[in-house]
Amino acid sequence: MSNRIKPLASGLEALAQKRYAEAIELLETFCQLSQINRDYWQAQMSLVQAYIGAGQNQRAIALCEKLLASKNLEVRAWAHNFITKLVPPVLTSVAAPQDSTKNTVGTNFGIKLKTLDELKQFYQQYLLADLKEFEKKRKAVVNQIAAVGITLSIVVLALFLFFPYGWLNFSTTRAANFSFAIIFLFLLAFVGCMYAWVVFYSSSTETYVNGFKSKIIQQIINFIDEKQILKYSQSDSAEMTLAAFEHSQIFSGAIAPSKITQDDCISGTLGETDIFFSEVCAEIEIEHNWINYFNISQNLFSRRTFDIPIYISVFVLIIAVFKGIPYIIRRMIKGQRIDYYHFEEEIIKNEVTRKAVFKGLFFQADFHKSFQSKTIVLPAVLDYKIQVLNRHRGEVIKLEDPEFNHLFVVYSEDQVAARYVLTTNLMAKLVRFKKKAKRNIYVSFVDSKIYIAVEYAEDLFEPLLFKTMLGFAPVREYFEILKLMLGIVEDLNLNRRIWNG
């Protein structure tokens, strides 16, 4: 119909003759009257050009974005192409979105990072019921522990009161041996009480903590992860994490850990990136081989009890007492769990000492660029800046971003590869991430993988014995931690795959 065609043709003519204002007017009228057909899209595209010509860049961009969402493939390609040209031409053009499922702009790959208000609602509607059950269990456990605690303290008190001080006589060797034997028996009884107490305490807290993790934490994860992308398991085999930890070489050389305990593993694929993170505690073990000679429990049950001089046994028991009591008291005051195996191996049997090298969250993912070297980013604290200690990590790389240099120190074997990985963009993103987390962060890029270790001093995801479980604060804390970790993919833009790899 001539009425419709005329504005389009004259609009295009006006555009060709650079009469932009007129072109805009004609084309807008045409678009309002026209149906969605080929001409309409033609008019829209010309309208964008007219806006640019007239200097109205903002309207052009807005219209382009509208065109990006159209159903027509060619129009989308054109709009995408046009938008990338409005930015200075760096080679950032990506294959135009062919189908909408691959378009990750503006979505969070099925993980909706909810707000705190939504969390509060969820908490009140669904979590409170379960939490009340656990609260009852907790109170029952507290009562039990109080009861057993009182009984045991009475026993210990009796031991102290009825200790035969009068019989202690160190004048002759025989009398001395006898006195030591008495002290030995007394200490043995005391250690036995400690042991019994720890066994009871750890088994009773174990029951309600496990139930808590599997129910509550799983529910929080399902709340965030509507499409069930993430998999949560309470304790996976720690071997793979130990291998990854060693591969990352964040803690290497003298402080390379030999043992890792892992809790609360979450894995999944966000967009195109596979991620895996868990709460780890990495420790160095120092074995006490000398203790094998004085292994009391072994000796007790063979007939060789009094082959070792009695005062050595007393000495060993005193070590156990001096290590055990502070440990128990410290854990109980905070209401944390007492790890039974740690207690048995380190304190009673005194076979190993373990020193924690790193405690916190460890995150692994595939990086979006491929490279063969290692680059390690460490917090800029004194021991990492000392070049002599860190010579095995490579050279110090001095990068351009001053804020980044203030917060981190970078070691790498290859200067060009380090800068290829740590672009100015990524450096800014790391700085922002560190400010978000407010903790020490260690990052490592090795063989096309990225590892991030975030240091947390306290146990995560653990309910405390003497605090009520109905509070919103712990739930909020777990939620913030999950958000932080899951947000890494978005924050560092790991899904932008425009390079080989």
Binding site: Q49, I52, G53, L73, E74, A77, W78, H80, N81, T84, K85, L86, P88, P89, V90, L91, T92, S93, A95, A96, Q98, K369, S370, K398, L399, E400, Q415, V416, A417, R419, Y420, T423, I498, W499, N500, G501
Partner: protein, 193 residues
């Protein structure tokens, strides 16, 4: 008397020894930094060659789409052969490489209008490789700038500037964007190509 002379001699020897040691250290440091600059420059060179190797692939893939302007393709093939022949050096070489960057950029942007080409697996792979090589070139340039800054610092700061003057070392120039790249892009003219 003898011990006095001996002690004076010893002190003098020690002082001279320390001064010589410091001079040697400064000299080595300076030479090390100069070599670092050369190493950085050659790493840029390696990556530029790598980009040159990708150009024939680009031309081959695009040629099939006959509508695409043959003129641009021949232009880039010419630029490449000039670089590979090795005749251009110094400023002329830098100029050539900048031209190559610009033309490749324009080609890739203009190809956005060909959706079937965009879906071609070979082309996508090629695009990824080109992006990767461009980023690596940019990383190598940053390395070069860092090395040159360190070298220039060493030349200008006391006390190594004394040695630098003695050895006739000159300041080196950093990589800068030339005025052509710094201008804002004229979107309209890109369209009319």
């Amino acid at each position: 008397m003898a011990t006095f002379i001996l002690s004076v001699l010893l002190t003098v020897v020690l002082i001279i020894g320390t001064v010589v040691a410091i001079l040697i250290w400064l000299y080595n440091n300076l030479v090390g930094k100069k070599n670092q600059v050369d190493k950085a420059f050659s790493s840029i060179d390696v990556l530029l060659k790598k980009r040159c190797d990708l150009i024939p692939n680009l031309v081959a893939v695009v040629k099939k789409y006959a509508q695409f302007e043959q003129q641009t393709l021949t232009e880039i093939a010419n630029l490449r052969s000039r670089v590979m022949s090795g005749q251009a050096t110094g400023a002329a070489r830098v100029d050539l490489e900048n031209q190559i960057s610009r033309v490749v950029g324009n080609i890739l942007v203009a190809l956005e209008a060909y959706p079937d080409l965009k879906a071609n697996q070979n082309f996508i792979q090629l695009q990824y490789s080109l992006t990767e090589v461009e980023e690596q070139i940019s990383a190598a340039r940053r390395f070069y700038n860092a090395a040159v800054t360190e070298y220039n610092d060493a030349i200008e700061m006391f006390p190594s500037n004394l040695i630098a003057i003695a050895m006739n070392y000159r300041l080196k120039k950093l990589f800068e964007a030339n005025t052509g790249d710094r201008q804002n892009v004229d979107v309209g003219s890109l369209f009319e190509q």
